[in-house]
Structure formats: C-alpha cells, structure tokens
Amino acid sequence: MTSIPEAERAGRGRLAAAPEKASVSPRDWRNALWVAPLVFSLIVTTVYPTIFLVSLALTKSTLGKPFGAFVGLKPITRALFDPNFHSAVLKSVLFAFSSAIVELVIGFALASLFVALLKAGRYLLTLVLLPLMTPPVMVGIAWKLILAPSGGLLNGILLSWGVIDQPMSFLASPVPAWLSIGVADLWQWVPFVTILCFAALVSLPDGVREAAQIDGAGPWQRLRHVILPLVAAPLASIFLLKLIIGFKLFDLVYVLTFGGPGFTTTNATFGIWRLAFEQFDVGRAAAQTLIFAIVIGIVTIPVVRLHKRASEYYS
C-alpha cells in the first residue's frame, strides 16, 4: 500500500522484461503454494482479529469468559461517547503526527549533515544504529534513570549549573511527562529516519548539488528548489512509516509514566491494555480497539494520498 507503486516503477525501468518473462501460467495450481502460507498468515493476523473483536464487542466478555450474553451495540456506543476514550485517541493521533513531523525534520537535517561529512558521516551513521536496536522497554528505563528526581543525570546537571534550586520530577507533571516520552521516542526513532533519509540523499545524481551551486543558488534555495523536490517521494514514505510506528506507542508509556500523572499520558493503546488486562473488561476493550483502528485508517488515508501524489508528481 505504501511504497509499492514507485518501487514497481523503479523495478520496471531496470528489469523491464523480468516479471513478464518469468511469470508462469496463472492457472497452474502449484503457483498458489508459493504464497499460501503468507495468505494464511495474513488472514490470521488481519481478518480473524477483526471478526473476533467484533464478536467480543457485541457480547458481555471478560478475560476469563468471552462471548457471554449478547449485548448489542452497547459497548460500541459507550466507547463512542466516552470522553476519556476520546482524549486517549486524540493523544495517540497528536503524538503520532507530532513525533513523525519533528523526527523527520531532525532526521533529515542529521542525514544531510552526515552526507556532507562524506566518509566520516558513514561511520557516524553506523554508531546511531544503537538506539534502533535497543528494546523500547530498556530505552524507557535508561531515560527514567536520566530523568529521575533523586539521582537523575539531568537533575544533577541542572543543579550543578545552578539552573534549578531543587530537583524536578519531570514525569510527574503532564507537559514534561509527554515531553519526556517524546524525547525517548525521538532518541529511539530518529536514527531510523536518519538512515532512510541518508539513503535517499546519497541516491541523488552526483551533478545535482554542483549544478545548483554554479547557478549561484544559496543553501536554502538549493534545499527548497533542488533537493527537496528530488527526495519528496522517499520523504513521504518515511513520514508515513514513522506515523504508523507512532500509533503503536505503548512500551515507553508503560515504563516511563504508566499513563500518569492521573490519566494525562494514557493514550489509546495503553488505555485499552489497562481495560483488558487490569479490569478484564474485554468487551469494552474490543469495542475501543475497533474504533481506534478505524480512526487510524481515517487519519492515515490523507497521508497515503499525499504520499501517492508526491511519488507521482516528483518522479
């Protein structure tokens, strides 16, 4: 759905005849064997959960006893009119978009920097693999240690520089708590964005930069009119990918704030998890999951469209 169209176009350019020549008679039943396990697993991971969640949402279901009495649309309407659930979904959406935008900007800037540094940049690029390989739970723990009110590195530094008089508890007030989650997420995912942006930038034709420089374009003009249009399509893919990853936020919330203080950092995923595994109200959790999935679909569609237009217009 995402990177397929332009990928196929690129493939066609180079290996024009390959798929046609190699393709086999479509009526051959043995062809189906190649993809049968994949099709089966797609059904198990998408179709089955959807049907299952719908049936859970329509019945009185607990973790121990699913599919009790039929209750109709009650769990669904309840979720639709639940202000706490509204705000949890809103937080998920805002987090996904704002983290994707900020991380794309930083990742792109960093990738440009690494490209400018030539060989040294490539070495530095491999060093930033580390955050990407770190389990989010451990990322959360590392940042929790840095942000801790007593003995945290950040408080230690701020105190010794005289910026603050007494330790601050960053995770105990709403805005700093969200910022902390954002910084931890940024730490984990900017390297990924940087690697992808780096690849997009080094695949630019060699002459592009020099030509623009000879024309007397300043650095900003070069970026705006020469480089950005050329990498618009990959940047749109990267944005879409990070957006999707952003909706999956769970581990950092669990470790850093556990949804608190109060419910301020409870996003949709975390709220649903608590509903199912702490209150065992599986019916309601299923209803909320379905609505959350639909919301993700609705807010992602414009981005997918944009991505499609970017890859058609700029390539």
């Binding site: 189906a32 991971t45 299952f52 491999t126 770190t134 990959p234 999951t289």
Partner: protein, 271 residues
C-alpha cells in the same frame, strides 16, 4: 568546496548528535557500576565503581531464564518469518503471483497496531493450548513480522538480474531449486539483514509478550525487566545491569553486521 570553518562546525554538530544517541546507553552502563548511595549523586561517572550489580541482578531475578526465553522466541520466530516470506516474496516479485493486490495487502497489514492482535491472539492461543508457551510467542511474532520482512527483502529480489533465472530455467532447474540454490545465495546479505532485524524486533517486543505469557518461567527479557522495575530491583544499579545484560549481545551483533544492516534498512526505505 565547503569552507574549513563550515567543515569544523558540521563535524562538531554531528559529534554532538552522536553523543546524544550514545548518552543513555553510556549512562545505563555507568549506573550499572555504581553503588546505591553513589546513584543518588546524579553525576555521570561512578565515584567508587563496583562490579557487584551484575551478579546481583542475576540473583535477584530469573534474568537468565528471561534472556534464554527471549533468544529462543526471537530466533525461532525469525526463522518462521523468513521461511514464509522469502518464497512468497520471490513468487510475488519475480513470478508475478498475487498481482498487485497481494504485495499491497501484505504491506498494508502493518498499519494495524499490535493492540488489535492482542485480544484475538490471547483467545486463539488459549483455545489451541499455546497460551504461555514458547511456541505461542514464536507463532505470533513470526506471523506479525511478515510485512516488515517483505518490505526489507523485496528490493533485494528486484535487483536480481532476470538472465540468471532464465539460464537456470534453461538448465532445467525448477523454480524452487532456482530460489534456493541460485537466488538466495545472491541476496544472502539481504536475507541476513532481514533476519537480524526481524529477530531484534521479536527480541524487543513487549506488548504481546506481556499479554501472552503468564508465568515467570515463560517471561521474555523485556517483560521480566518491566515487571521487576520498582519491585525487587529498586536498586538502580541492578536495574541498569539487568537491562544491559540481555541487550549487549544484540549490540555486538548489530556492530558486527552494521554494514549489512544499514544497507538493508536503506534499500527498504527508498527503492
């Protein structure tokens, strides 16, 4: 050419950024050598380093069981993912099976967050008797990582020259033989990078592992660590040591394979 002063500024900015990306891991490492009262100073370096936290972390929790569970689950689920994805990706990309729809459906399935799969898989595993087992986690991780593996491996398959397969076909090799003995060795770096990335994804996975395991003997590392934070491991030094113990091997693999990993990720994203 860029002026020398700009050069220095660029190098400085890059080093600053890399410092930021290494700092939390370095701090975790430093804290793992600190004594309890030393942790409270909020300084970076330990004043009186100790090795005691590392063995203590293993004694205070079932850390070695958690690590073993994570390794078993992630490696075997990686094998499952590749075993399903490689032939399917080959068939879709080189033989045109599944037309345009199947590749798009495979990638689109990645959009749904894992929370969608959690409850259905909980009851599925319970029904087939695989809840709280390695096999259950292997199955779930193995299937859910297929879209990522397809996304990573597809660009490598696209670059295999068509002539090679034609030659193999003339020689009378069937398509499966062609994949196994000709195409797979050619894209070995891509398969290696994809395998490592999906193994690390399973190793790092938390939400599903926390919902689908019920006893300490089945917990994976991430779940074990999350449960012990603020419980038995109130000691920051031990918590840091425990967090690092299981991920050090991952770092070692990542640094050894860095070239393939960067290449694998880069190809997937852009081409």
């Amino acid at each position: 050419m860029t002026r020398p002063s700009t050069r220095i500024l660029q190098a400085f900015a890059a080093l600053l950024a890399v410092g930021f990306f290494l700092l939390p891991v370095a701090y975790l490492l430093s804290v793992s050598f600190k004594r309890p009262d030393d942790v409270l100073t909020g300084r970076f370096w330990p004043t009186d380093p100790t090795l005691a936290n590392w063995p203590a972390a293993f004694e205070a929790t079932s850390l070695s069981t958690f690590i073993l569970n994570s390794v078993v689950v992630s490696v075997l689920s990686g094998v499952l993912t590749i075993a399903i994805t490689l032939p399917a990706a080959y068939a879709m990309i080189r033989l045109g099976i599944g037309k345009k729809f199947l590749p798009q459906a495979t990638l689109a399935s990645y959009i749904a967050p894992p929370i969608v799969a959690l409850l259905p898989f909980f009851f599925l595993l319970k029904t087939i008797g695989l809840l709280n087992t390695h096999a259950g986690l292997i199955l779930v991780n193995g299937l859910l990582n297929i879209p990522v593996a397809f996304w990573l491996i597809a660009p490598f398959l696209r670059r295999v020259p068509a002539e090679i397969e034609e030659a193999a076909a003339l020689d009378g090799a069937n398509r499966f033989r062609t994949l196994v003995s000709i195409v797979a060795p050619m894209i070995a770096p891509g398969i290696a990078a994809t395998s490592i990335i999906v193994i690390i994804l399973s190793f790092n996975e938390f939400l599903l592992a926390s919902g689908l395991t019920l006893s300490d003997s089945m917990r994976t590392l991430t779940v074990g660590i999350s449960l012990f934070q603020g419980d038995r491991l109130v000691n920051f030094g031990q918590m840091a040591a425990a967090s690092l113990a299981g991920i050090v091997p991952i770092y070692a693999i990542a640094l050894l394979m860095q070239k393939h990993l960067v290449e694998g990720l880069a190809h997937g994203g852009v081409k």
